[in-house]
Amino acid sequence: MKRNTIVIGVTLLILAACAWAGWANWEYRKHAAEVALASASHAELMPVAPGNLPPEVAPLIGKPAPNFTLPDLGGNQVSLSAFKGKPLLINFWATWCGPCKIETPWLVELQNEYAPKGLQIVGISSEGDDLKPDDAEGWAHDKAAIAKFVKQEHMQYPVLINGDSLAVQYGGLEAMPTSFYVNAEGKIVAIQLGISSKEDMEANIAKALGAGK
């Protein structure tokens, strides 16, 4: 009788523990679901710290800049290989992008300041409108907007169009501006996603120049 009482008591205790475990597990999963939901509705385009690049672009560091041939506003085809041996700042931008508008005067100044050291800035417009090759009206509209931007901002460095076609090679190009710093050996030494500061850009330019010395 005494043994039965003990066994029943222990069983009830275990059942109570199991019930508590189930409740605790339910609470845990409820909390995890709330965190996941909050995370899903939170969509900040995070400024990326050096060395903390997203997986789409991080593997490009240390690799040769992917080659390309794109038209400029005059219709001339320009290849990356045309800049062989020069440290480069390849800046992807768009006419509708506010941070690009802020950043462009810095680029104009940096081109002037660092040209004597060999730096070449190349702007590549990426309008993100996925125009088809035969959409003459769409391309004409884009070109007019780009030409206007280039004139207004006094962009004295080469500006190419249809950067969207390089999205796969250059890590997605999901947001503008995005800059790739390339040393004289043609390797990507730094990547900047989003606007930062002119000082940060100069630090990355120093990396691009340093490898070429």
Partner: protein, 171 residues
């Protein structure tokens, strides 16, 4: 029978271990959260209404509710700079419903940290467009559109057009 089982020490130990294992299983989450890849979601989500009933042939007001993801903003319908892409609601032709007009909310002032002097006119959080629709009699599954361009404080996403599905009943 039960008494006989519990008189056997090995069976009692086995039963105890089984119950202990059950407790351990209870404590374990049913599925551990796997590594979640970055899910590309729309910056703007259409909230409601899913269905409206309008007087056929007459301009009728419909309030369309949208939500912008946290930490993002989109240009208002009247951005201050010409180069910025405005938010625009539209209804395709031949959908049985015509957009007679739309009243957009005023944008709120917003400045980017890199340029505190320039004030942008943007929408953040939830916003409502007051549309006036004229429906032909009958039920129409309208795929209206909202075009916008979203940014956060440092970078911008390409312009986007999302579908705004509304079941419009003209009576």
């Amino acid at each position: 029978m039960m008494e006989k089982w519990f008189r056997s020490p090995s069976l009692a130990v086995l039963a105890g271990l089984t119950i202990a294992s059950a407790i351990a299983v209870c404590q374990e989450p049913l599925s551990s959260p796997a590594h979640q890849s970055l899910v590309k979601t729309e910056a703007v989500e259409y909230l409601f209404p899913e269905q409206v009933t309008l007087a056929a042939g007459k301009p009728s007001p419909v309030a369309l509710h949208f939500r912008i993801k946290q930490n993002l903003h989109i240009n208002s319908h009247a951005p201050r700079a010409e180069y910025l892409i405005p938010t625009v609601f539209s209804i395709p032709e031949a959908s049985g419903v015509r957009l007679a007009g739309a009243t957009y909310p005023a944008g709120t002032d917003f400045t980017l940290p890199a340029d505190p002097d320039e004030k942008l006119s943007v929408y953040t959080g939830e916003f409502t467009i007051q549309a006036k629709m004229i429906a032909v009699q009958g039920e129409h599954l309208v795929e209206a559109r909202l075009r916008y361009q979203a940014c956060d404080q440092n970078e911008c996403l390409p312009p986007k057009t999302i579908t705004v599905p509304i079941d419009v009943i003209g009576k």
